[in-house]
Every structure is written in C-alpha cells, then in structure tokens.
Point group: C2
Amino acid sequence: MSEKITIYDIAKKLNITAATVSRALNNSPKIKDSTKKLVLETAASMNYKQNKLALALKSGRSNNIGVIVPRIDSNFFASVIRGIEEELYSHGYQVIICQTHENPKRENENLYTLIDAQVDGILMSVTDVTSENDGAFRNVLEKNVPLIFFDRSKHIDGVSSVTINDFKGGYIATKQLISQGCKYIAHLSGDLSLEIFKNRFLGYKQALLDNGIQFNEKYVIQSKSSVEAGKNAINILLELETPPDAIFSSSDFAALGAIQELRDRNISIPQEFCVAGFSNEPFTKFMELSITSVDQSPLEMGRMSARVFLEQAGKTDTIKIEKKVVLAPELHIRKSTSRINL
Amino acid sequence: MSEKITIYDIAKKLNITAATVSRALNNSPKIKDSTKKLVLETAASMNYKQNKLALALKSGRSNNIGVIVPRIDSNFFASVIRGIEEELYSHGYQVIICQTHENPKRENENLYTLIDAQVDGILMSVTDVTSENDGAFRNVLEKNVPLIFFDRSKHIDGVSSVTINDFKGGYIATKQLISQGCKYIAHLSGDLSLEIFKNRFLGYKQALLDNGIQFNEKYVIQSKSSVEAGKNAINILLELETPPDAIFSSSDFAALGAIQELRDRNISIPQEFCVAGFSNEPFTKFMELSITSVDQSPLEMGRMSARVFLEQAGKTDTIKIEKKVVLAPELHIRKSTSRINL
C-alpha cells in the first residue's frame, strides 16, 4: 500500500507552510507565480494527487451528475439514462444513478445521497405515489444544484421539466382502437394524482367524446405497472354486465398481463379484443402477437434533459428560470390492434 | 437561500476555538464530556448540520456503495442490483450505480468517479472486452476499498467474486438439446477471453463429447449479446455444408435474433431447429414461442455479493482474503427446445 503524499509533505520539502502549498495548488492570486511553479513541480515530482473530493468541497464542482429513476429494469428509463449519458459525457460529466423502487422514502434518501456526493445537478423522474419530499427538493435548490424532472414531474417553482404530451399519447392510442371498430374501450390507468397518468386518461376520455362514445367510469381501472395488475384488471372487466372489447393501458406491462389473461380465456386478439399499451418497451415488438404502443422518445428525452441541465449549470442567476419541454408521442401500430392485417 | 451555520459560528457563540468545536463534534477523546455536551446542544439549537462529505473525508466512510455494470437495461444486471440493494439497505447503505456500456475507458472512469465520491465499497461486473484497467483496480485496493466482482470477474489478488457455475450452465443446456435428438449443435459464444463465456463454451463442448457427438469448430460463432448478432449468426451457419439443427447461445438476445431469422426463413422451431439461451431474461418466458434458458439466480447473486462486502467492510486486516462464491445455474426448459410438448 503506497503512503499518500499530502500538502504537508510538500511543505516540509520546500520549507514553506502547508497553507502556502494549498493556495499555490488552488491557483490563489495571493501566491507569486514563481512559488506556484515551484510547488506544482515539486508536487508532480513527489507524485502528489489532489483529492478530487477535497477539490469539490472547495470549488463546488465534481463533474458528477445524479440521475434518480423509479427503476432501472425498464427499457424506457434505461434509454432516457443512455440519452443523458450520451449528451453529458462529451462535456466531461460522469453519471451516477439511484433508483427509488417507487418508494418516496428511498427517493428522499437518494436526493440526500447525491447531494452528499457533491453532484453538480440532479435529473430525475418522481415516484408513482404522492410523496412528501418537498423539503428534500427544496434542499437541492437551496444548494444551487440544478434539478430537472423528466417524464414524471412535479410542479415546483424554479424546476425545469422534459415530458411528452401524454394527453396526445392517450388520445391517439384510443382513437386507433375506435378506428378498428371497438366500442367499449376500457382504460388501465396509473395513479391519477400523477400528471402523466392523469393526462393519458384525459386524452383517452377526449378521444371517446370526440367520436361519440359515452365515457363509462366502470371501464377505468387504476392499476400498477405490472403483468399481474393487467391480469387482475381483465378479471374485473369481464365480470361487468357489458364487458369491454378493447383496452388502452397506460403501461405496457399491464397490457401484456391483460393479453396473457385474455388468451388463457381463449379470447382472440385482435378479432374479439384489442389491446394498446404505453412506453414501447422492446417486448411489445418482439412478441409474435406484437403489441401496439405509444413511443415516448426516451433517448431524445434524456438528451433534452441533459441540454436543459447544461444551460443551467453553474449559472446561479438563471437557475430560477423554468423551462418546460414537451416532446410529441408516436403511436406504433402492431398486431394487437390491427383487425385488418397490416 | 438559508445561511449555512459553520463550526466557526458555534465557536464564536461559545467563545472557544473552532478546533475544539470540531473535535467535540467528532467525539475526540481529547475533549471533556461536559464540553462535548455543550457543543452538541449549541450546534443543535443553531440548526447546525455537519457536511456528510466533510465527515466522510475525516472518517473515511460515506455509507455509499458503488455498483458498476455493463448495462442497466438487462434484466439480469438490474436484478443483481436489486439483490445488492435489498441486502445493503437494511445495513444503512445507499447504492449508486454506473454503467460502462462495455467500454473499458468508461469502466476506468467509473472506478475513479466512485472512489472520488468516497464509496465504501465497489461491486462490479467487468466489460466484455479485455481491458487494461489493472491500474484503476489497484487504485481501489490501495485505498482499502473492498472490490467484489460478480458474474463477470477477473483474476486479481485480494478480490472476491460471486459467479455461477457457467461450465455447468453450458453443459445442461447442451445436454437438453441432445436429449431432443439434435445432432449438429452450434454455439453462439461471447468473447472467449472472458471467463464466463469460456466456461459456457467448455461446458457445451464437454456435453457433446460425453454424448458421442464430435465437436466442430465451424459451429462456434463468436457474437455480441444482441438480436442483430443472432440473426447474422444464422446467416453464417445455414451456409455451411452441414447446417446445424440446434443452437446453444451464451446470450438470450442473440438466441432471440436467431429465432427471428429462422422464422423469416420458415424453419420451424422446435421441430426442425432447437434454440436455447442464457440468462433467463423475462422476454424468454413472455414470448408465445417461449425460449429455453439458463437462469443465473441474479437476486441471489446480488445478495451474496453484498454479504461478501459486509464481511470485508471496515476490516483492513481481512481485506486481502479472497472469497470465491459459485452459485448453481438452473435450466428452464421451454417450447424452443421441447420437441415432445411439455
């Protein structure tokens, strides 16, 4: 194990004070150029390495960016992170990632962990349950660390966000189901207190109204983003007096569960029942019965979030300017909603 | 923005030196208990918050653990990380994640980023290409930070690892193909300079020999872990004079690509051609033509890696003890290799 060289060793060698060495290494105007040169040369010859963390404490910059996501095992979030990394890496930033597992307490801890790790910015998507983390968010802003929400955002003064037009996403998916002749269209929603799920629901509702189909609140099932939740939803929906003939799901995982349950009951897709999902997870394309889904341009969302961060980085005067970027969703029509074969 | 309270403010209020305040806050034996009590009470009343990072610099502990993986958008790595988090969270550790994208330069940068962020340990899976990062690995060990490899490991003195028995995984998958009557079994391997891919290949080869099937090196295609690579491999293999009638792939993604290409050529699976993969990615189970795959117990691998870290944490005397944990693989037999219907 090598003995670490400190500024005290350099000071001793040059017979000057440690404070002078420190100031020289940090390019203080109080130190003569000749002294700076001497200290730098001596430090190099002694193989001295400045602790980047100690530097971060002084300069307030670490060149690390924190990203917080609900889960990493979702192609959507993994792709957003890839976009963030692609954009920031060329600017010399390293990305470190934390996941909340949809737990507000973990979200709170992640925020403090990243601040303690001296990140220069935090890009995040909030948990799908209402949280009381306003104190933790405020703590980030008070430290002058830019905070940017992507996909799932909260209304906080001074915080920018990059989202997609979820209303439109819900609208175009539902309209496609209507175009296939579906008349009793159910909706698997997430937690409607979250903007993204509320807007997908509102888009669904508007598409029904615009096409002369009555909205039936029994057809709206609030469910988690899981295969199991999709199966359960089918069990509830098929018990209704007039069971639905289609589902627009706010989650691809729930859409997949619905399809599996429909098949177990020998209900043919898309002939008897159409299913559309949201997020364009890779499995929706890979499956033999491919699933129609709304693409959210995750790579672009990541790149855009990174660019919004770069605009704010280090500019304390502009940090309170909110920027709201809204990307357009794109519907990928596949077998699960194509009664006339594509 | 709130003005930050420092030890100087506390010192001024109590009319003692900042050094005394600092020693009291850090529970130094040089300070009288009565003074410590006074300082702590005053600090609390002034709403003083110690900078955790500054504390980390002093104590050498941050309670953060770094995890480095090739990619997060793989169910395997995401599940290992979940296992690590489950085990460490109850011990008060937060996990921060970096990805290499299979790039040795990024791997190197990740190692330094995490050390700079003062992590207490690094748990990682190396890139799938040979790297020259021995200096970066040594730097971690010289800082007395436990380094533990999982799944993909390297031989480095003093570094523990948690892997599965890849040889056995390759063996049981190949044997299952033989049991279905397949006689010309090809293998899609990863980079054979990596232990895991070499061992899967050796298990495949041994299963052939043990069952009286000659090994044919033309049947071994070194390919990346991607759908595209699997498609390309089929194009090469079907051009051979005696094309194979089965594939054991070291990657589920390559297995999926092979299946897609076989279907495009109207070759029926499993009747004419059997395909087995490795990793038990969720899509292998979700597909209508489900794919046989070797499960690597990722959750257990993550928990075990975390436990190996906990054994080493803070014990500088034991840190040079290597521990090699090898988990057993499990074959999940599905439609893609079941000629007699299951």
